[in-house]
Symmetry: C2
Subunit: 576 residues, 2 copies
Amino acid sequence: MKLSRYHLPTLKEAPAEAEVISHKLMIRAGMIRKLASGIYSLLPLGVKVVRKVENIIREEMNRAHAMEVFLPSIQPAELWKESGRWDFYGKELLRITDRHGREFCYGPTHEEVITDIVRRDVRSYRDLPLNLYQIQTKFRDEIRPRFGVMRGREFSMKDAYSFDADDESANRSYIDMKKAYNAIFTRMGLNFRAVEADTGQIGGSFSHEFMVLANSGEDTIAHCDKCDYAANVERVELLPPKEISDGTPLPVEKVETPGKKAVEDVAEFLKLPASQFIKTLIFKTDTEQEFVAVLTRGDHEVNEIKLSRTIGANEIALASDEDVEKITNAPTGFAGPIGLPIPIVADNAVAGIKNGVTGANKKDTHIKNVNMARDFKNATLADIRNAIEGDACPRCDGGKLTMRKGIEVGHIFKLGTKYSESMNATFLNKEGKSRPMIMGCYGIGVGRSAAAAIEQNNDENGIVWPPAIAPFEVIVISLGKACDEVEKAADGIYKALQDSGLDTAFDDRNERPGMKFNDADLIGYPVQVIIGKRGLAEGVVEIKTRKTGEKKNVPMENTIVAVTGILEELIKAKKP
Amino acid sequence: MKLSRYHLPTLKEAPAEAEVISHKLMIRAGMIRKLASGIYSLLPLGVKVVRKVENIIREEMNRAHAMEVFLPSIQPAELWKESGRWDFYGKELLRITDRHGREFCYGPTHEEVITDIVRRDVRSYRDLPLNLYQIQTKFRDEIRPRFGVMRGREFSMKDAYSFDADDESANRSYIDMKKAYNAIFTRMGLNFRAVEADTGQIGGSFSHEFMVLANSGEDTIAHCDKCDYAANVERVELLPPKEISDGTPLPVEKVETPGKKAVEDVAEFLKLPASQFIKTLIFKTDTEQEFVAVLTRGDHEVNEIKLSRTIGANEIALASDEDVEKITNAPTGFAGPIGLPIPIVADNAVAGIKNGVTGANKKDTHIKNVNMARDFKNATLADIRNAIEGDACPRCDGGKLTMRKGIEVGHIFKLGTKYSESMNATFLNKEGKSRPMIMGCYGIGVGRSAAAAIEQNNDENGIVWPPAIAPFEVIVISLGKACDEVEKAADGIYKALQDSGLDTAFDDRNERPGMKFNDADLIGYPVQVIIGKRGLAEGVVEIKTRKTGEKKNVPMENTIVAVTGILEELIKAKKP
């Protein structure tokens, strides 16, 4: 592609609202433009990257025997009422009324539509297993869209749905998809982890998230320093502490802590580490017990998903200051487990705190030397907190968890029969009996994968694309002027690279060399081939590897071999 | 692709609501399924065809230096208000309100969005010309969607937009697109015509429609039997009749025509040809003259687009019976030009009628021997009718128009500055002066092209795909059973065909031969390779050409050569 004829509007500055690096760079490199909040247009360079991502996805999905379909974006409300999600989905579902007053939505996902298709055409176990996928635009009316295409409202997703006759086969389908996802993100050249994830409402099933490791990631991944275990920090199964404190407890002692409410403040005031504190939070729930007191170590945080599951609640929220005062007889910030009139759930780690500090249920007062075994035996122990650095691995002996930031780019679920039962997607088994199909669903964010690749691969000058999803693998930069010898030589090399099968750009624009170098670094072509007057006289080109910045002169006739070699090295270096 | 693992639910019957053959066959062949009125899912076979259509479009658009973008489906109302189309577009525009109460629409087209993108990044004549295209889903809330994907509400379209600095360059862009469209539909293997079209509201511009010829087409194309001229029947520029009747008119004579209103009825009653009649219709308009009488020959039909343009109206409609009675003093059906108190517009052909018949403005009465030159000189002559078979060609001498039915699959417009002026998309020209860009827009219906191909290529057994857009080029049909010798041989031939680069299906399903033959004919693979027990013993396969039904035995080792040869013949035969 000759850049003189290519629509590639690069910018020196990103708009102020661009918070994360991928958003800034995608705008600056002329890949995307904002149309409205959370809604972006892809410019030619953006389309090129997205097509490469899509092609990798397609090839690996096809290899895994999934078949491509294309389902409508506008879906009738009836189907969503059948699955029960019309009321459940809330404001993220973009609801639409057509000219005849009929209700529709812009599909945020396609479980209902695919289940409807399969239930109409599949009737026998002989038609199963079946895995159908599409690459289609979704809309989720996020309340606060941000980070460009990373958390947009309109976005492209690959979604696949598997249908199986029995659990064993469903598990095979799940494993096939897990393998395909590993292949997809590996081919993209990304450093990623498949981590165990919680499926929330869906019981009896399992799920993995595919996380691209990047310091700017919104999610935290805990992974073991000794074994393969990795999980979203919110979803780590934590073991109880090995030794429960039962040493000699000191006598409890009230201390004045005027105005000190937060653990950090009290800890500083009393000159004790946060891990010595027993934090007490009052939650309001939708269970029979309206309120529950929740204890964690001062340096730990409550995990609301785990807590909900422990107490069997669908909804929980921190109690209001008013409610807290009613229950504890003290303002918020001074609650403690001793003498509380409501049920208490303590995180496993609380049992390990010896002579801890907690609130006294009295304004400006805490209690020292509190020990669970002696002072609040009525508490129920459970795993209700997020993991932190150094926690023991739940899968191996002696492993410690370390934390990495990550960006979720894929998610696979074993759905079970949630949709096939509510929507009556059944088949006749070998014995002629009607059974609900067992489903799985498998998503990849297409634009999000490209953005995550940038978050993981960039430097102060711009993007550093992995070759497989770079908009072009190599750029030829001519330092000549229109129709001069240098330009002609550059054009020859461009054509030779193209003909050799390399996806090549040619910066033949009438711009200063500095501008061309800056744009090339910003856009992040993996390899740059630079041709100037002196080089031409000596019969050499300069080849720069974007990732390392390394430059070398190469005889002109060796250009293809040299570029191919660098690309192969870059791809090899990424392999795990 | 092995059909035993492919989701290909063929049906014996199409649903009753499927009116046209392409709709019926796409459902029966397992290509599409209806989700809601005018909204269809593509099953795997449908996706395969659509991808081939898209690839041809992409290759030819790229060759013509258009660049692919991808624009959002959800568009903010502000842009449509800027262009003035928010109010103009009516109920076909699917209007949407997001969670914050902001107005959007599901894009039925993307002029506003692309103009917004270009005006933000393009500032100089040096950045022009520019042609950006996408393949994207549109939504038009048709009041009565029908014909499956041919006139659906949600549909896929390739839309391109060109931006030029001056008129000459804009015309070049238009011609480039016309060439690209010719290449696209030729490569698809379609029999089509590029016909002149009217652009309606857009003055001073031009446009062509690309019509696939098919008897079931909704549009009628007039084309010359002598020269290249072709136009939508509604848009043919008709010449005035060569000799205006001025012979000896007979004296006018009133005749009783009790209860005869329609031209056909009066003609039969009076035993005169319809071409001898002067039909008089009263139209209500939004011009200063509220009503106008419109005359055509009895066998001609008023063309409302031409009529509107002639009288300078934006809206016209037939007057109500009440209004007709008030104006003519007679019930509808007996109006005539003589003595009418409103302006009269007569089609050019009316001037050629000698001693014609028309209404008498009196119930159950007509007048014979009416002649314009004598009896209603006050009428204005103009071209206000549709062409009919045998009309003179407006472009050559002696050519006659013949009529063909066609399906519009593409449309190209020179837009001029309609959007660039209303939306302020300007650039600085060489002299540093700000000028509006000159635009063109160019659409192709993707699913519609596939459906039109079926309308043009089918027989009583099913679809007869042109090879370039067939879901598979060839199918291998095994008449054996799982794992027997025949099946193994068929599998070998399947693999050999695949390896040779042919897109091959393999019917390895455990079904009766009759079912396999019927499905193969229904789905319309261009070539079938059939392997049975006897053939295997003799070392031959049977090769059937779907289009001709011709069958021949070929030595097994010659299969690839034979199949390739047939495909080449099929493609060659289509070339104009």
